[in-house]
Symmetry: C2
Subunit: 174 residues, 2 copies
Amino acid sequence: MTTAIPTGTAADTANGTTAGTATEAPAEPAGVDRFRATRLAAQIQFLAARARARGTGHANALLKAELGLKVSHFSVLSVAASGTSPTQRELSEFLDLDPSQVVALVDVLEQRGLVERMTDPKDRRSRMIAVTEEGHRVEQRGYELTEASDREVLACLSDEEREQLRGLLTRIAF
Amino acid sequence: MTTAIPTGTAADTANGTTAGTATEAPAEPAGVDRFRATRLAAQIQFLAARARARGTGHANALLKAELGLKVSHFSVLSVAASGTSPTQRELSEFLDLDPSQVVALVDVLEQRGLVERMTDPKDRRSRMIAVTEEGHRVEQRGYELTEASDREVLACLSDEEREQLRGLLTRIAF
DNA sequence: TATTGTTATACTCTATAACTATA
DNA sequence: TATAGTTATAGAGTATAACAATA
């Protein structure tokens, strides 16, 4: 929905002498692109927010279209499917979600038969989230979709640059 | 509020033989850190969302404490203060905000005397946002605060790495 | 007493539809 | 007719408080 950022903004090089409309001013970006020179637009915080918005929007669209899930659902499912038997409390802490949000997300996943709540025998207050076979299949497909989303949003970067970015973000995130 | 990510998680190297409590297992991260080995936690999309959440949370806290503003208010103010005389429509497009959101944000800024709405003489439907002297002072302070927030959140990176990150994110965001 | 999960609730953010004034 | 701004409103996302079961 909100992925309306027009592509091909700065890629209009190699124009040469094929000037159709008479726009010969050398360095005055058209339309809203002139704000890219703003000092706000150079702040990493601002850029990260934009990049995340694009990424989440794109991934949400892919996941919703094929699996009827959102990124938040997939996050819970993916951690649960990693063989670590997380409790809801742990999911809440690791994914920066409120415990009540985890309840709602697990409810959806459970209703679709993708996960099951199992009481932890070591602490009967806790619920360990186990993933069903179908859940593992959906998680696998969701992973492929989110990876494809990543590649598309980061298509302007080389493989090496993507790994650079992953490394830098990992150090910030943890 | 949500910036409760505990620091000093993986920095416990160089422990040698000073094992106080008998935890001699070589590679089993404690608590919630074991989920960092999840393949979800390696996705750039996931990492960017985390980094942004930390950054926005921190910047919001600083801005609210000293200026009573949020990042979204500062974004509008900062673009308006850049000498580009943006209209609300342009702010909406560049900042990925709904036009109705821009109305509310400009309302707040105007009520505090930081900006003024001026009808564009070339198109009397549009409102150009002009920044007052006080608005420029607040924007300057807000910029310093958000820069400080950036530096603190990115403290784990060297200056060179920060510029690398800025460059990569710029290409993704635009 | 403290904690996990749960429910209900409120608050914020975001998106939509209808209206006005201009074009 | 179409667009900029405005208003009201609905929906999603997020946070808070109270409760039951368990520690």
